[in-house]
């Protein structure tokens, strides 16, 4: 069985107008794009806005994406350009020439001005990472090995099967069960 890059199918569907396929791509890459953007943009709320914009631009430009390059490479370029443009627009703004933060808040439009990087949110991000790592450490060794080889080493199921001397079906099952155990701890954290 060929190990096609998982993106191809989703990208093709998205190019054909399948917005839900694009949504899955966003879920796949949003953290990575946000990390990239945050190197340029300081405020977390702005990082999120710019990240959002990156994906919207990517969606609109999808027809022009040439399949000879990797999707993420293409997305990466869009992210860099978008973040840079944002910075340039920001830096050109003379101080005090905005309509005014006060005005927006007076009119009850203060939502956007609120700082999203509250201590609670930072704690939550940290808690997500801690929870996942703790759950990983608590896994039986065969599950932990399987998922580590997959996610950290990027090995295919076939390669893992060889490394662990077991059938591919067992690899598939172990990786899945590892994820299930971790997700049991993760899911409650993300409930609204």
């Amino acid at each position: 069985m060929t190990n096609r890059p998982p993106d191809d199918e989703l990208v093709e569907r998205a190019r054909g107008g399948d917005r839900r396929a694009f949504d899955l791509l966003v879920l796949r890459y949003q953290q990575r794009v946000a990390n990239l953007v945050s190197r340029y943009v300081r405020e977390p709320s702005e990082t999120q806005d710019v990240t959002q914009e990156v994906f919207i631009k990517a969606y609109r430009a999808l027809k022009g994406f040439r399949r000879d390059s990797a999707f993420y490479t293409w997305l990466y370029r869009i992210a860099i350009n978008t973040a840079k443009n944002f910075l340039v627009a920001q830096s050109r703004r003379p101080p005090g020439s905005d309509l005014g933060v006060e005005t927006a808040e007076q009119l009850g439009m203060g939502g956007r001005i609120r700082d999203y990087a509250t201590p609670e949110r930072e704690l939550l991000s940290e808690e997500i990472a801690t929870t996942i790592r703790a759950a990983l450490d608590g896994l039986p060794e065969d599950l932990r090995t399987a998922i580590t080889l997959r996610e950290l080493e990027g090995m295919s199921y076939e390669e893992i099967a060889e490394a662990m001397s077991c059938p591919i079906g067992t690899v598939r099952s172990r990786i899945f069960r590892a994820r299930e155990v971790i997700d049991k701890h993760l899911k409650p954290l993300l409930q609204p």
Binding site: G64, N81, N85, A89, R92, D98, L99, L107
Partner: protein
């Protein structure tokens, strides 16, 4: 001491309290010359805001039982205006405009139409409010709230069924029209544009990177019209135009075969109709057509194809087109 507006001059002798009440009332009822001045000031401010601010927004366009969504951005860089409009539902048509060019992208026809232009503000620096008053009732209609913001409402309501009017809801802070109604003579809105999101750019670094024209699209370029031939009368005159409409100017293009197309523009100061006159071999509209509130009427006059287009009621474009006739030899002036 500032002079009082003309309307209240005659009441300077009244007790101050009564005078105060009148001054407070006057902007609300909007009667007379001071209302015209207020409307003029408000519209001037709106035009100024539309052309000098940089902003992006999404607006909904309500007409009939349809709702279309469009995204619009206007940026000013180095004193030059760049505008972009794209349809967000249905076919993604786009219009781009800069001071010299209009580009219309039509994916359904896989074509791009490029036209050289004269910027509209150069042609129409401001509304002639006094002239308008003959054909429209001009009001300020107090303040209203639109999308959580305070808006000044300004109405230009037609006095007859020959033209449409407008009702503008102008953001008090910026002057931008948050909502615009197209009005008939019964002061009923027949179409509406309303911004559902609108944001300002404090400063703009420069024109965005332009990705260019899509693969495989044809481009059709139309050069700027030859200069308005002032002093050279058109070979056409208009008889029996709808009340208030008069010739504003005329222009020529040469088509690919060298034949002339003449455009004559008529206006009542707000509404306008363009009449395009082509030689008789040309394909053209016969009878009526419309797209929303924009009407067109076509037919043959003296062996020419004549098409009238304008954001006016159906009867008006027809009357304008049918008013066209060749200038009689012997110098009957058209003015």
């Amino acid at each position: 001491m500032p002079r009082l507006p003309a309307m209240t001059r005659g009441v300077e002798a009244l007790p101050p309290a009564a005078l105060m009440v009148m001054l407070l009332l006057a902007p609300q009822t909007g009667a007379g010359a001071s209302a015209n001045a207020e409307v003029k000031a408000a519209l001037a401010r709106m035009t100024q805001a539309l052309h000098s601010l940089s902003y992006t927004g999404t607006f909904v366009y309500l007409h009939g039982d349809r709702l279309d969504t469009l995204r619009f951005s206007h940026t000013v860089h180095d004193g030059q205006e760049l505008e972009r409009l794209v349809s967000l539902n249905g076919v993604a048509r786009e219009v781009h405009r800069d001071p010299t060019t209009v580009v219309c992208v039509m994916p359904d026809a896989k074509a791009v139409l490029v036209e050289k232009r004269i910027p509209a503000t150069q042609l129409w620096p401001s509304l002639d409010v006094a002239r308008l008053g003959q054909f429209y009732r001009l009001h300020t209609l107090g303040d209203s709230r639109v999308a959580g913001r305070v808006a000044q409402v300004v109405g230009i309501i037609p006095r007859d069924a020959l033209r449409y009017g407008y009702r503008f809801y102008l953001d008090r802070e910026t002057g931008l029209p948050l909502k615009t109604d197209l009005m008939n003579e019964e002061a009923n809105p027949i179409e509406q544009i309303m911004f559902t999101s609108l944001g300002l750019h404090a400063d703009v670094s420069g024109p965005e990177e332009d990705e260019g024209v899509p693969n495989g699209y044809r481009t059709v370029t139309q050069n700027a019209p030859q200069s308005d031939q002032k002093g050279v009368a058109s070979q056409w005159v208009f008889r029996n135009l709808p009340v208030g409409f008069a010739l504003h100017g005329h222009h020529h293009w040469a088509d690919a075969t060298g034949a002339q197309v003449e455009q004559l523009v008529l206006t009542d100061g707000l509404a306008s109709v363009s009449v395009y006159v082509e030689r008789s071999g040309s394909e053209g509209l016969q009878g009526a057509a419309h797209i929303g509130a924009v009407n067109a009427w076509g037919g043959r006059v003296a062996d020419h194809q004549v098409t009238a287009v304008g954001e006016v009621p159906h009867g008006t474009v027809r009357q304008v087109a049918e008013a066209l006739s060749p200038r009689p030899a012997g110098g009957d002036r058209n003015d």
